[in-house]
Amino acid sequence: MKALPRILLLLLCAASASAQAATIEMNVSGLVCAFCAQGIEKQLRKFPATADVVVSLEQKLVAVALRDGQDIPDAELRRALTNAGYTVKSIERTQTPIAAVRERLKQAKP
């Protein structure tokens, strides 16, 4: 009986984690040169929450796959992109796995 609150707490934590975004998708301005965009990946991979990074010049998109139950605040994301030399236009959190984002970008290639 004493274990019940602990079990409930664990269940709550698990539910909260599953509600976290799987991927952060950012629309970025000025994204025209792959050589210059190297810094984006380097900056974003510094976050412990980052599992993977995808950059698309064609879609002006930077996507970050998050580790389970983790997130990166918007202000930190904007700062990372500023440090890489770019400007974030919008940030969206989705449940789309990064593999699906990659596939979508592949399909969208002209």
Binding site: G30, F35, A37, G39, Q43, L57, N83, T87, P110
Partner: protein, 217 residues
Amino acid sequence: MSRWFIALGGAFALVGSMSAMAKPIAFAGGYTVMAEYGAGTMEELQFFYAPRYDLSFGGGYLKLNSDERPETDNLTYARLNYLAHRWNLEDAQASIFVWGGLGSATGNTFSGTVLAENAGAQADYETRRVYASFKTDLQRSSEFSHRIDTLQLGLAPYKHEYGGVATWLLVQAREYTGGIHRGAETALLVRLFKDGIWVEAGITDGGKLQAMAMVNF
């Protein structure tokens, strides 16, 4: 040969294209190493660290060989680069950099080592298909004053993607002041880059090699 260069340069200008040049600041926490061989008249090696996205510092070595007279100058300098402004546009990026530094110089037309001052600026604009840059770099001392102005115009035959190989075709026009080279020197270049490695090479209107390599990490 010169007419061909002029015609090609005009064609680039007609399509509104100009080509971008190596940037002296990579990204916050990033290092840049650049090496250039300029048709026998200049050789330069530079190394910069950027503590911020808009600032980098480091040093370089520049050797200038006059093809007009028997003059060679060797300069070693420390330099600060500043990103004065950047425009992150929907389909383009443009930047203005300025820099200044101090160093020492030796040469075969004067004795000893003299203090040398360095100052310069660069403006560039690029999309995924067109690229333009203009750079001016002044090296001055009590014994000489050399300025190198470089204009690059480029066109990409295809839109490169992140992680792939980028290819650029460029026309470069360069003018030296201070008796290094008479008149404007033009060159046709091919630039390739992938990930953090950039190489470009070509030939000048005088039939000499013009080459540059850069690594960001």
